[in-house]
Symmetry: C2
Subunit: 215 residues, 2 copies
């Protein structure tokens, strides 16, 4: 049974723009928990994401064990230290080291998102030449989760300074799953319409005109 | 200068859910053009997408040449035919062949989206261990574009049955750009809250409970 198609008005469009402008990669979280009903509402929206061949390849692991969380945080701290060595310029290296890059110890919820590289669903449609479409589908599910969370005042941070294979082992998942994201979820310490890396002088937003071409 | 943080209310959340539920991968387009002001508004939102290290790796190519569009459509038709051969079951192969998988000849706008694998912006932050984060960032920009379009009544279809290297050559882009998506954009022939692949019996939506785990 299908309801009538909604007609999104201009006021909604303005709010959607604001949602995108105020979505942030959050690294500073308040310590209060996200009510379970809120978490369930967030997670329910994942099913609405687009996926190649309707394969729905996302696999979500909610990390409930404090011991596992501590191991994840220690792992990321090690990777962050190692990555600092890539910066030959001492000033840039110092700046990098001064950045807070994750909230894995404070965020009330930790979610690891994997993508199934060999899902039964979808029957292979759309991945003959671009098997990476499965992982891209999972990425869109994460982006939808991010926007849904922000609309409810909940912040999310995507931690990518990880060894994906090490995380898969730590979380004891099937071999055909590839780690896409390690996510911190909780109420943000503050709101902003400016990325933290821009506030901290690491990288400014650049004009779209530099990224738009015609052929 | 930062405005006060918006407070998204429950009514907005309901509309956002509806937006996600009524976003579709569109293959049937009306022939009327998308006004250029609408295209510019859509494209402007791309800059709001999250990106690793704030690297903004998306590179958009708007295809204006009819000759290039025809070559793209011919290429995809060839790939679709070849992919049919992967289905050993004749009934499934026939069903696959009966699906309309792209609107490259009818959609008023064609956009090819690439990701720069070696961007200057971002200074390498967040990609020491997961260089694929650059491509994932570009995928999120596409998903944001998709939602923004649907909020304006504009449909989008993501065509992935392509040889990415062949498309890069056809569109004459720099070697460090990787094709992420070939997009058809225009007003959809109809609205639906059910994926076309589900309507056509290819693949149903499956419950999130099958995809949610705890550790």
């Amino acid at each position: 049974m299908t309801d009538a198609a909604p007609d999104f008005d201009a006021a909604f469009g303005v709010q959607l723009d604001a949602l995108m402008r105020w979505r942030r990669d959050v690294r500073h979280f308040r310590s209060d928990p996200v009510p379970d009903a809120e978490m369930q509402a967030l997670l329910a929206n994942v099913s609405l994401a687009p996926s190649v061949g309707h394969a729905q390849p996302w696999r979500l692991v909610r990390v409930r064990s404090g011991e596992r969380r501590a191991r994840l945080a220690d792992h990321v701290d090690g990777q962050v230290l190692a990555a600092a060595e890539r910066y030959a310029d001492p000033a840039q290296r110092d700046q990098y080291r001064s950045l807070k890059l994750h909230g894995l110890r404070e965020a009330p919820e930790i979610l690891a998102v994997f993508s199934d590289d060999r899902p039964v669903a979808g029957h292979g449609l759309g991945i003959a030449t671009m098997p990476e479409m499965l992982r891209y589908s999972t990425v869109m599910a994460i982006h939808g989760l991010w926007l849904t969370a922000r609309a409810r005042g909940i912040g999310m941070g995507w931690v990518s300074i990880v060894d994906p294979a090490a995380l898969a082992a730590m979380l004891d998942v099937p071999g055909e799953w590839t780690l896409i994201a390690l996510l911190c979820i909780g109420y943000p310490a503050q709101a902003s319409d400016t990325p933290e890396l821009e506030q901290r002088g690491w990288q400014a937003r650049e004009p779209l005109t530099d990224r738009l071409f015609e052929r």
